[in-house]
Amino acid sequence: MSESIQTALRTRARELLELGEVSCVVGYERSPRGRVRPAFVYDPADADRLVWDDTCHHNLMVYLHDRKNPPRRGEEIPRVAVVAKPCDVRALNVLLHEGQIAREKVFVIGVACAGMCEESTEELQARCRRCQERVPIFYDTLVGEPPRVAPVDEDWADLAELERLSAAERLAFWAREFDRCIRCYACRQACPGCYCFECMAEQVDPLWVGIAVELPEKAFFHVMRAYHLAGRCVQCNACELACPMHIPLSLLNRKLVKEVEALFGYRAGGDPATPPPLATFRKDEELPL
């Protein structure tokens, strides 16, 4: 299956570039060490660099933020094609919703996805086992057959253990996890939803967080990042996969996904018509507080 998706991706990429429909195809390639990583193909002759397998976990929508300005003043912003899994397309939906990206500048090469694997164990990632969407909700072209996978029900089991703990125990859990955080911001940089010109964690005026790499600052950064993604996180897991210290960041973001769903019946990146609840004011709104 991967073979044919890979072949189809290469063919589509070559066509798009030859026809001049896009200036670049953002996809995946294999590094000289054999690991999958993001790739930028400009020349149709290079289309065979593109690969597809179950380690193509990066959310490539993050690279759209580099392309919001034309290469030279007065020029048009070039159109790019992006190889996109269903979760990646949800992220694009959020960016379109928030007016960050112009729809016509992105050609979505949707991929029907059977799920990504943990690199160490070669088992399906937990988030992929739960995934309800094997085909992206929109695309300009689709590659791959919808896989016959029965998703595991979303039961928030990963959060259950934390939710059972007392507040003090939960604090102790996160203190242990954040202890090894080095404030490298890989989580933030890998996330398509984090695109502030100046992150609140680095602002000096007003000063929200200091420069210290200590628990209070680290906790503040992670909790506030999760809050700033509430109602916006699409659970692509790019943050957790990017973390060099393997901190289980998905637990923070998923907790808020769960809360937003319970409060507003809303999940990010889905139906493009529903305005995002945390960015929408309704006079008739009543929240049980």
Partner: protein
Amino acid sequence: MKLTRREQLAAWLDALMERATVIAPRQVESELLYRPVAASDEVVFDFQRTAMSPKGYFLPSTEVLLEIEKRGAEVTLDEALPQEEQVLFAIRPCDARGLRVLDALLVEHEPADVYYAGRRHQTTLVGLACPRLWPECFCTSIGGAPDDSSDVDVMLYEVDGGYLVSEVTAKGAALLAGLQAEETDQPAPVSDRDGPSVLVLEAEAWPALFNELYWARFTERCLSCHACTYVCPTCRCFDVRDYTTAAGPNGIRIERLRSWDSCMAAAYRRIAGGHNPRSSKMHRLRNRYYCKFNYCPQDFGAVACVGCGRCIAVCPVGVDIVEMLGDVAALAAARVGEGGADE
């Protein structure tokens, strides 16, 4: 040389812990990190490479430079100079060499950084030779070796039955007093140097390649996070800022903090007013490599890379310094091939 068993080493470490902070590889949840240990049973003896280099025990990720008290116009300053004795146990030759590079960058040119220099002075390094190169390692390409004892005070070599102990410096010899060991004429094992090697282009040849289109292509996948700079044994860029820690009717207490910063950050060179000479990630990543392989060798006499491979292991998007070095060597060779050395 001496031969000692692991239990004897452990007992010696336990005794050291009574008079110094012993820093050793310790399992911290999912990661192996150099951390202070309270007992020798916390020490991980069998490992390849820790996730972070131990540079944080010399140039901490957060450090108080000054303690300031302000009472109206009256201000008193106190330097928070490092006080404690440290023993860094099981440091790898590459990481020890990283400290030698940091010495060149921070101490050997006047004025010296007194905080880093103080910690270096107060720390004894007990090295542990690597039997071979680990994945992503390339120390041999950069003039290092998995069993290089040049930069440690004591070197340990894993052998059948325990460890060979080599006294490298007088400081190391002094530390070894109290270690149970027997004399042996067993020679130190020579580590296996097999592994991928890459040509590191000499510093003088880099300027000619500065404007190659290659850099824009190579850096495009970079996310501008700080992971590579923070795990690196030789990166040392820092930020300094004051923070009020207590305020009352009798005055204000302030700490001047120093923390790690990264040249990869978009705002690294942005000044108040907004001007940013390195606003593109191409400029930033190119600067990082030039700093390591051209500027530091020319300004400080040291290549600022020791081949530990951590940046390769940690990069979320596969930016690979060895790949870059190979590409740069090829670019330089192509230029020479064209006969067009205009530099």
